[in-house]
């Protein structure tokens, strides 16, 4: 009797959950099935609470100087509908916030610098178009052509450091997850719509401490949107992007739980040279940290260096941070580690490619 009741209750809850595709305050949840549509989905999606355009890459100057960079534009929706504009209403009434992060890893100079900016949808300080690829946070911008594979232009400048890059996708957008969603947990809506440009040919200029370098290299872009993605008990994630010499790319993320375990929905993608994507469930890869680094700024202890095994990739990979300290301790935002890594063959030590690793939730649990 009791079992029957429990089963009934469970069925009911599942039913209710399945039909609820919005958050309490009206944001859309990322649910399956979802069919991406490009170029529309390169633009902003104000119906979801959280969205980001995440660029990381490895650059080389004519004189051999090596750099890693990160430039991320966030969109945080405060309300799913635009703010009412009326006489007697302040322009600062905003429905959207646009924080952005910018970091340069000077691999040759062994220096790491980072900046953040905050802008709300007021006075044109922050903006993300739903009709074209245009995202702005104060003076930092992402713009692009309206194509499935857009030519994108990145610009950021702070202090004595600046970026001015043109990004050309060499592969079509790689859709992560299954059925159009990348799951972050078991609950309905604990997911995002997530695709990547895994191979962006990059050219442009980089200013580091007032010195201007003409640079070229390889970048990676993630575009992800959803609402209330994280589940109770999750403290953060480890995310890996790897660009191998054979024009293959790997994306992996591992969601960490407070109890020390890994969320079973953690997954990844393996992108073939022709751009086709293979879904990697948690069982298809292993990530073993090989060391730790303690931040002198926040005293957070991060893993540092990994051994990676991915089904479909023959070699065991060793990931080594280009610099130990690539922590962004933002006074107003989230503290995380986002760094350039070198990728080598565990057996021969041969260089296999480059990557970026993101470690969140080590300096206090993450709130999204």
């Amino acid at each position: 009797m009791r079992n029957k009741l429990a089963a009934l209750l469970l069925a009911f809850v599942t039913l209710v959950a399945a039909t609820t595709v919005r958050t309490k305050d009206g944001f859309r949840l990322a649910t399956a099935p979802y069919a991406f549509s490009f170029p529309r989905d390169h633009y902003a999606h104000d119906a979801y609470r959280t969205e980001w355009w995440y660029f990381t890459g490895h650059l080389r100057a004519a004189d051999g100087h090596r750099f890693g960079y990160e430039l991320t534009f966030f969109r945080i929706g405060l309300a799913p509908h635009p703010s009412r504009v009326a006489k007697g209403r302040s322009a600062w009434r905003a429905a959207q916030l646009y924080p952005a992060h910018f970091a340069i890893t000077d691999e040759t100079g062994k220096r790491f610098v980072y900046y953040e900016t905050f802008a709300r949808d007021a006075l044109g300080q922050g903006y993300a178009s739903q009709r074209r690829l245009e995202v702005r946070s104060n003076g930092w911008t992402l713009t692009g052509t309206s194509q499935v594979r857009p030519v994108m232009h990145l610009h950021a400048r702070s202090g004595n450091d600046a970026l001015d890059l043109v990004e050309v996708p060499e592969k079509p957008p790689a859709i992560n997850g299954r059925d159009g969603i990348s799951r972050k947990g078991s609950c309905v809506g604990c997911a995002s719509h997530y695709y990547s440009f895994t191979r962006l040919a990059t050219t442009g200029a980089l200013v580091r401490d007032g010195v201007r370098y003409t640079v070229h290299g390889l970048s990676w872009m993630d575009h992800e949107y959803g609402s209330d993605e994280l589940q109770r008990g999750q403290v953060g994630w480890d995310w890996f992007s790897i660009q191998l010499a054979g024009r293959r790319e790997i994306m992996l993320y591992r969601l960490r739980q407070r109890d020390g375990g890994t969320t079973p929905q953690s997954s990844g993608s393996l992108v073939a040279p022709d751009g086709s994507v293979r879904y990697l469930p948690l069982s298809a890869f292993t990530i073993v940290p090989t060391g730790t680094w303690t931040s002198p700024h926040t005293h957070a202890v991060y893993p540092s260096g990994w051994r990676l095994r991915v089904k479909g990739v023959r070699d065991e990979l060793i990931l080594t941070p280009a610099l130990a300290d690539q922590e962004l301790a933002n006074p107003g935002g989230t503290t995380y580690w986002e760094g350039a890594v070198r990728v080598t063959d565990a057996r021969t030590g041969a260089r296999l490619g480059v990557g970026y690793v993101e470690l969140t939730g080590y300096a206090g649990a993450l709130k999204l």
Binding site: L78, S90, A91, A94, L97, N138, G332
Partner: protein, 855 residues
């Protein structure tokens, strides 16, 4: 050192134990003096600290601030500023005040909160918001879009507004409901409890400042600060200023300085009067132990050792008294803080004292001044002791004081000289920005002069007493008075100084009050006055849109309306008030009292829509500018030159006001808002009906509307509140002086034990002895009253014509409170007689046998 300790034990410790009562009286007096001074110091420090916090609430690392010249500046300046290289963050601030617990119509109700509108999404958050945000289950969207507010714990408790509740408040004339999003923990560094935070959007809407900012807080690269500052100056609107964060605070502190200096001066008088008691106490102990001293001298004690012993006794009184005073001062400070805070909030800015600020400096000052002055006071009697010749002192009944011939005349000559110096000092100008240093010096010289003249007056009085025939008591009393001129002179002088201060302040306050009453009578000519509820004075926030006076003018029964708009502007390193009104109304309804009776019609013509102003008298005095002079000022229309056409009487601000035509103001400041409205009724209209008609017509706006009689009463109430603390202070001085009389009479009685015993022996009755003491007390009282009232009149002249003129620039008309002189005199004489009761009893119980045993 061992000898010194032994001497101290022999001469002081044992003696004090035997004279517990008088030791206690002395200690109380010293403690009271130290307490008054300490309490005022604490109150002043607390006022400045809480005030600094309310002005200075900013995030960490802010090293530049932009302020506008008028009512805010265009918010787009922020975009230009934050784009500049080297600017790490730029945070916009919109400020305003909201009234809590306000009952519209009651101008004295409610409390003001200083509301800071900030962009919470920026990196540089004020500390208090950080703390409150961390505490609450914070919803950013509701904060921004739902009129969220962070309040202090004090406010949350007092107005029953926990996180999540709605807080009803007045933003100018509008009743608004704000959602409490979080409570700022107490003792958050840098946040006063009367500060609250809202989103910048909420602030712009609450205060009608759409599109405007009041301030930008900037974190700039410190290595290139000067270059960045110059770059910022180029991109901000005309008239705006880029300042280092403390510049503005310093300007405001300067505004408070003279107010606080006056309070300190009063408190220090209490301290000085208390020191007389130490003199007296040590003098008594010297006199009583002349023979012991003589013996010790004969046994080889050196003069220096004797001197140091008695100085140490003074120091001991000072130390114990000062310690007691610190405790008592701390208690008194609670009341003093309230009084000072009230004045600061009324006159300057909304702030709340959340706890006493006790600086080590104030404590060290109270202790060291207490002990130092005590030792200084003891030095004179200690010198007497040291001068004691061994042989002479060992003789019994060696009279208390040896008489110095010509002492009275020499001292009187010095006294007169001091008075002449005082007169000369009073003619010197103020130092710096209205610090009447020479005025205070003149006051001190007057006190010194009056004190030095006391001996000769005393000698004369003793002669008079002796001339009263047929009464043994008076004759004996006269003898005693003449026998101890110095001690009596000091007692009389200190009482006279206290009386003088009391009289001077009574004259000042009375004259000032009468002047204000006359001024409000002359200048408040309208029938009704309208302002926003919960605001102090007019509010200065520009809460009324220009439509409001038009609506009021359309109410049947209204003959005319005048508007006023004003706020403080930085002027020559300080602040002055800018006022704007329709000058055409001056021609028909003269609301200003011009000095020198200018042709008002011509004046109005010269001021109408021109850069020509009339300035208040304090403005004129303070900045040395009069009719025909000109000054420049940064306005939102750039640097502007104003010519001064006239000076008028004004007591509403101490900083000074310059008044321009409303059209001029609107043109230069792009501001057509109004702070207050004066309403003239048509003849025969019932004011109560008109008042409710206006209230109804302006709904849903809520207003304070008062008749001119109510406004006048309110002005006087503020005045009385401001001076409440001065009353308390001279009360303390007087108490100490009365304790001085008790102490002196005791000293006399003890000194003259042998003589009194002898007089008893030869037939003087107990009543006779009592009478003798009472006659002495009466003489002390009468002389103190006479000298005190004379001194008081001179001090009042100094206060009114020199000190007040120089620090505030107010012209106060002299009013002599005739009845008060009598009252003061009567009070002092009665107090002196009351003070004599106990010493008289002691004297009357002196037994021949005891004294003889001592011999």
């Amino acid at each position: 050192m061992r000898t010194f300790a032994a001497l101290f034990r022999a001469l002081v410790t044992g003696y004090a134990r035997a004279n517990v009562l008088r030791a206690i009286v002395t200690l109380i007096a010293v403690a009271l003096g130290v307490a008054a001074s300490y309490a005022i110091d604490i109150a002043n420090d607390t006022a400045v600290a809480s005030f600094s916090k309310s002005v200075d609430v900013i995030a960490n690392h802010v090293n530049l601030q932009v302020f506008g010249a008028g009512r805010g500046f265009d918010e787009r300046a922020l975009l230009r500023v934050q784009r500049l290289p080297g600017v790490r963050s730029a945070s916009p601030v919109v400020e305003g005040e909201i009234g809590l617990g306000v009952h519209p119509g009651d101008p004295q109700s409610g409390e003001l909160l200083r509301v800071m509108g900030i962009d919470i999404t920026r990196a540089a958050l004020p500390n208090g918001v950080d703390a409150a945000q961390a505490e609450a289950n914070f919803d950013l969207h509701r904060f921004i879009d739902g009129n969220g507010i962070f309040v202090s714990r004090r406010i949350a408790l007092r107005y029953r507004a926990p996180a999540g509740s709605l807080l009803a408040a007045y933003a100018g004339p509008r009743l608004v409901h704000l959602r409490v999003m979080g409570v700022i923990p107490p003792n958050t560094v840098g946040v006063d409890s009367s500060v609250a935070f809202v989103d910048i959007a909420t602030a712009q809407e609450l205060f009608g400042k759409i599109g405007l900012l009041d301030r930008i807080d900037i974190v700039a690269d410190p290595a290139r600060l000067d270059a960045i500052r110059a770059a910022i100056a180029r991109v901000i609107p005309a008239g705006s200023r880029v300042l280092a964060p403390h510049t503005r605070l310093d300007e405001i502190k300067r505004m408070l300085a003279s107010f606080q200096m006056n309070l300190s001066a009063l408190a220090d008088v209490a301290l000085l009067v208390g020191m007389y008691l130490i003199y007296n106490a040590v003098a008594i102990s010297v006199v009583q132990r002349k023979s012991e001293i003589g013996t010790l001298r004969a046994l080889g004690a050196r003069r220096r050792e004797i001197f140091m012993t008695f100085v140490a006794e003074g120091g001991l009184y000072g130390a114990v008294g000062a310690l007691l005073g610190l405790g008592l001062g701390f208690v008194l400070a609670r009341f003093a803080v309230q009084a000072v805070q009230l004045t600061v909030s009324t006159l300057f800015v909304a702030s709340h004292a959340d706890g006493l600020v006790v600086t080590p400096f104030a404590t060290a000052k109270a202790l060291s001044v207490g002990i130092g002055l005590a030792m200084l006071s003891a030095a004179l009697p200690a010198r007497d002791a040291a001068a004691t010749a061994p042989a002479r002192a060992m003789r019994t009944g060696a009279g208390a004081e040896h008489r110095v011939p010509g002492l009275g005349r020499a001292s009187a000559a010095l006294g007169v000289a001091s008075l002449v110096v005082a007169a000369a000092l009073a003619r010197l100008p103020a130092v710096g920005d209205g610090v009447p240093l020479f005025g205070y010096a003149a006051g001190i010289m007057l006190i010194v002069g009056a004190s030095l003249c006391t001996p000769i007056v005393l000698a004369g009085a003793a002669g008079v007493v002796r001339a009263i025939r047929g009464n043994a008591s008076t004759t004996i009393a006269a003898g005693f008075l003449r026998g101890s001129p110095r001690r009596f002179s000091v007692a009389i002088a200190s009482l006279a100084v206290a009386v003088g201060m009391m009289v001077a302040i009574a004259i000042l306050v009375g004259s000032f009050r009468a002047t204000i009453v006359a001024w409000t009578h002359d200048t408040l000519g309208a029938d009704l006055y309208i302002k926003s509820p919960g605001t102090v004075d007019a509010g200065f926030q520009g809460y009324f849109s220009p439509g409001v006076p038009r609506v009021v003018a359309s109410v049947p029964g209204v003959a005319a309306v005048d508007t006023f708009r004003g706020f403080d502007v930085p002027f020559r390193g300080a602040f002055a008030q800018l006022g704007a009104t329709d000058v055409r109304s001056l021609a028909t309804r003269n609301e200003l009292r011009f000095l020198g009776h200018p042709d008002v019609r011509a004046l109005v013509r010269s001021m109408y829509d021109r850069n020509v102003v009339a300035v208040s008298e304090p403005f004129s005095t303070r900045f040395g500018l009069g009719p025909g002079d000109a000054f420049t000022l940064d306005t939102p229309s750039g640097r502007t030159r104003f010519r001064i056409a006239a000076v008028y009487n004004d007591y509403s601000t101490s900083g000074g006001t310059f008044m321009m035509d409303r059209a001029t103001f609107a043109r230069l400041y792009h501001d057509d808002t109004v702070d207050s409205i004066a309403v003239y009724a048509k003849p025969g209209v019932n004011l109560a009906d008109l008042r409710s008609a206006i209230v109804r017509k302006l709904e849903p706006l809520r207003i304070d509307i008062n008749t001119n009689r109510e406004i006048r009463a309110y002005a006087i109430a503020i005045f009385d509140r401001t001076f409440a603390i001065t009353n308390a202070l001279y009360g303390i001085s007087l108490t100490i002086a009365i304790l001085g009389v008790v102490s002196t009479l005791f000293a006399l009685v003890l000194e003259r034990r042998e003589e009194i015993a002898l007089l008893r022996y030869i037939g003087l009755t107990r009543a006779g002895v009592r009478r003798t003491v009472l006659v002495q007390a009466a003489v002390v009282g009468v002389l103190a009253a006479a000298i005190g009232i004379g001194l008081g009149i001179l001090l009042a002249a100094d206060l009114i014509y020199v000190i007040n003129r120089q620090s505030f620039g107010w012209l106060i008309e002299w009013r002599s409170p005739g009845w008060f002189y009598l009252e003061a005199a009567g009070m002092v004489i009665v107090a002196a007689l009351v003070a004599a009761i106990y010493p008289a009893r002691v004297a009357s119980r002196i037994q021949m046998s005891q004294v003889l045993r001592a011999e």
